[in-house]
Subunit: 239 residues, 2 copies
């Protein structure tokens, strides 16, 4: 498996993604975008990209903050995430820049692409789905489900899979309900929500021990189950 940095742009912003793929494969393969959590593109999203490459996908861990910036504390997270979250059009454009980069690679079958995201990245993939991006599937792991621009009827093409902790204060029950109502109203053809009991925010990340954010806590069980559900969906739609 090969990994290397890949630079791309969105307007004036330089973005430095991380690509993982099996260089020995000769046919075009499905491509999967990985969107990082609020801390920025770091080890966690890169490791997921490598795991996806081992599964046979071409995986691009995107950079949503520019110059691969990483937050050092919650205030920096709030600053970096907030400016994008408040401007869904800008957020979507930045996500689309990653999508276009991955789609253009000669190893990728651009008709078979998906996007996954963690925490903030979950928000990103849902915004891409709302935007009508050419993705077969989007998967949100403990993402914030709320939006300033709800999906319009018939616009969403992707199969949508939301994986959420039932006790995640960033995605409380009323937010999940509003999201489900949004999916119904927008007549999204394929959507699922999986709610894990006794599970907080950030459940996929072994580094989430409550020290930086009390509400973020790793759960080996929810991590394993959510990854398996993502794989099942990919086996359905990315064949």
């Amino acid at each position: 498996m090969q990994t290397h940095d890949i630079d791309y742009r969105n307007e004036a912003v330089n973005l430095r993604g991380y690509l993982a793929l099996d260089e020995k494969a000769t046919e075009r393969r499905p491509g999967v975008l990985v969107f990082h959590e609020g801390l920025g593109l770091g080890d966690f999203a890169m490791a997921r990209a490598r795991t996806l490459a081992e599964l046979g996908y071409v995986a691009l861990a995107a950079d949503m903050f520019g110059d691969r910036r990483q937050a050092r504390n919650l205030q920096e997270v709030a600053d970096l995430v907030g400016s994008l979250r408040n401007q869904p059009e800008a957020l979507r454009a930045r996500g689309r820049a990653a999508l276009a980069t991955l789609a253009a690679l000669p190893q990728v079958d651009a008709h078979r692409m998906a996007a996954i995201g963690f925490c903030f990245g979950g928000t990103v993939v849902l915004e891409l789905a709302r935007d009508g991006a050419d993705l077969k599937a989007v998967v949100s792991f403990h993402g914030v489900l709320a939006t300033r621009m709800p999906a319009m009827s018939g616009k969403v093409k992707a199969s949508v899979l939301v994986l959420t902790g039932a006790d995640d204060p960033l995605a409380p029950p009323e937010q999940v309900k509003a999201f489900e109502d949004e999916m119904r109203a927008a007549e999204v053809k394929d959507w699922q929500v999986i709610s894990y009991g006794n599970t907080l925010h950030g459940f996929t990340n072994p580094a989430a021990d409550g020290s930086m954010m009390r509400a973020a806590r790793y759960s080996a069980q929810a991590d394993r189950r959510s990854w398996a559900s993502m794989r099942s969906l990919f086996e359905e739609v990315l064949r």
Copy 2:
């Protein structure tokens, strides 16, 4: 694979279950109860029992109505189901009779048992979980989640998996929310709810074509996904 009827009793009621197992296996295997929908024990639940036997489980499709009674129309369903649903203690006792029957079989490892149920049967397995039955897992497929006897704190031992159609009028969003609140309040250690978008009641049953009940409609996709989720859970907890 062998199948045969198996008679057992609950108080004065004769119950005629249907057992499916691999007679060639010599070691004790996990046992799985299958609880039928409101129509009574018929082809559908029996077929699921055979599939479970093919997967290596000893499967008992229980009879909840006595003498393997089957409803011929919605009024008979309402009569048969209603009398049990209104008396959760009686319903639980009848479910426990099936559990005791399966646990007593020499082919079954009574420490590794689970129960699945469809529609009315989903209600039954949730009532067994609330009752503190010695089950590693219960799985409800398009079951009614409401109860007259909510789970008490610490009582539920089973891992609980609820598979529900987001548009099932028998399990509307407010009922799902109340169920999740019940699970939280009862401090159930392991519970999950999977909600399938664009999915009605009865989604596992190819015979559900809306003719008997408008709200019941087969979905090959939700059927496949829900069965896969059940299998994943069993692989976790019945090993």
